[in-house]
């Protein structure tokens, strides 16, 4: 049994590959009920009247696209369905292409027009300073949008002078930007916000969820899948639940098998660490 403890890692890689490919090829569906933190984001957007201003911050780059882009697409479907005006921006220079692609592709489905129904402000450096600038005056923080249009002339930004005029903000983050938005934006300028993040940083967001500094949270691909189900647009994230479920089960089985081998082989006697 001891030889199983040092199994060739290529065998594990092959097992993971087979699990992912197999679950993508075999068509079966799993129930994805919405959890309360995701439902709260949905309910908030559902409560916004047509013409309300929704700011979506695409704070991620291609390395986190697989988890966060489906969230962006599902949120945009919901906003454009409801006639909410969308303001896009990013704190990440690698996020501009993804944000532009998401905004334009979903807007075209609902015949929403750039400048009138949505705008993309693009990337600006500064992080916390940019948030504070936007809180004081959004037009001086972004003098021009991503395409070089003067932001004071954009109809979609009419009635928005600062972050105080934003009806709802969702930050999709692969880093620390959720904390930045909360500390320097939400707390100072008093707007409601939700968050979407990669599964890795999801656990770190629970204190903010509990303190209601964010009203909802989408964590990882499952959070995106739940939102897709809520907006009745099952797509990439929902499909991803199959390989993710199978891979999670495989990893659990591997861990259990490794522990059985660990105890049956007697390795625990030699490897047990002394208690401090």
């Amino acid at each position: 049994m001891g030889r199983f403890l040092n199994i060739d890692r290529r065998i594990i890689f092959a097992a993971v590959a087979l699990a992912v490919i197999g679950s993508l090829l075999v068509d079966f569906s799993l129930p994805v009920p919405a959890t309360a933190p995701v439902q709260q984001i949905f309910d908030k957007i559902e409560s916004l009247p047509p013409g309300a201003h929704f700011l979506l911050s695409f704070d991620y780059d291609p390395s986190s696209k697989e988890e966060l882009q489906p969230m962006a697409l599902a949120l945009l479907h919901h906003c454009f369905q409801r006639g909410v005006k969308v303001i896009g921006m990013t704190h990440n220079p690698g996020g501009t292409g993804l944000a532009e692609q998401a905004l334009n592709s979903i807007a075209s489905i609902y015949q929403r027009k750039y400048k009138e129904d949505y705008v993309f402000l693009g990337y600006k450096p500064g992080g916390a300073s940019l948030v504070i600038n936007m809180g004081e005056d959004i037009h001086t923080a972004f003098l021009k949008d991503f395409y070089g249009n003067d932001t004071t002339t954009l109809p979609a930004l009419q009635g928005v002078e600062s972050l105080r005029d934003i009806d709802y903000l969702v930050d999709l983050a692969a880093g620390v930007t959720i904390e930045t938005w909360i500390a320097f934006g939400r707390e100072k300028y008093q707007f409601e916000m939700g968050a979407g993040c990669t599964a890795v940083i999801g656990p770190e967001m629970y204190p903010f969820l509990d303190s209601r500094q964010i009203n909802g949270l989408m964590a990882g691909l499952k959070g995106a899948a739940e939102y897709e189900v809520l907006v009745e647009r099952k797509a990439q994230a929902f499909e991803g639940m199959r390989p993710q479920s199978v891979t999670h089960c495989l990893v659990i089985l591997l861990v259990l098998f490794g522990n059985v081998a660990f105890f049956v082989s007697g390795s625990f006697r030699t490897q047990r660490r002394p208690r401090r």
Partner: protein, 217 residues
């Protein structure tokens, strides 16, 4: 020289630090104008950090190539990738870079069909390494590691739809783990980090912490 290198930066840090701390509590128009001015300066400085980052990256990889360090061939791709991307970014689809950004240019193509798949590939490779690492290291050696192991299995199952199919209690227990013990630990860490950041800020403002001046002291 010491005056310019030490006294002036310390005086600037003290003055701006104290003013910014008080500014938060003073809702006067002059206070707000000061805040806007300072944050705009900060953003300009942050913009220049990009150039320092590029210089640092190129310098590191040029040194690796020059010294023929292990894996120096990969460093060539840094120059190739950055050079091609920068060139197409400046070319801006036939219009020069000082014009507004054109759509559907070669720069966009490089982003969508090179950077996006490359980034996604690197990210997805993590799943393979995590599976291998979990198999090798997740052992119930002690009571603490056994508790961690059980919690991890419940959360892993609770975070995918299959968990609810096995038992409706798994997502409930997973949510409890995330919302109570995890929350308590994260909040403790958050408070500790925040208090540490405040203490460090005060030390910088009052000139006790001088590491940021560089060059040793």
């Amino acid at each position: 020289m010491s005056f310019l290198r030490r006294t002036v930066p310390l005086a600037i840090a003290f003055t701006v630090g104290v003013l910014m701390a008080f500014q938060y509590f003073v809702p006067h128009p002059h206070s707000k104008a000061f805040l806007e001015l300072m944050t705009r300066w900060d953003r300009i400085i942050a913009g220049f950090a990009v150039f320092i980052g590029i210089y640092s990256l190129f310098h590191l990889h040029w040194t690796r190539i020059r010294r023929k360090a292990a894996g120096w061939g990969y460093s060539i791709f840094v120059f190739l990738g950055a050079g091609i991307t920068i060139a197409f970014g400046l070319y801006n689809g036939g219009e020069a870079f000082w014009h507004d950004k054109k759509e559907d240019t070669m720069f966009d193509w490089l982003f969508l069909y090179v950077q996006v798949p490359a980034g996604a590939t690197i990210f997805s490779i993590l799943a393979f390494f995590m599976a291998s690492a979990a198999y090798r290291t997740f052992r119930a050696r002690t009571v603490e590691s056994t508790v961690l192991l059980i919690a991890a299995i419940i959360v892993m199952l609770g975070r995918v739809p299959v968990g609810a199919l096995i038992s409706p209690y798994i997502p409930v227990v997973a949510d409890w783990i995330m919302g109570v013990p995890n929350l308590a630990a994260k909040r403790g860490i958050l408070l500790g980090v925040s208090l540490g950041a405040i203490a460090t800020s005060i030390k910088i403002i009052f000139g006790v912490e001088r590491q940021y001046l560089g060059g040793g002291d």
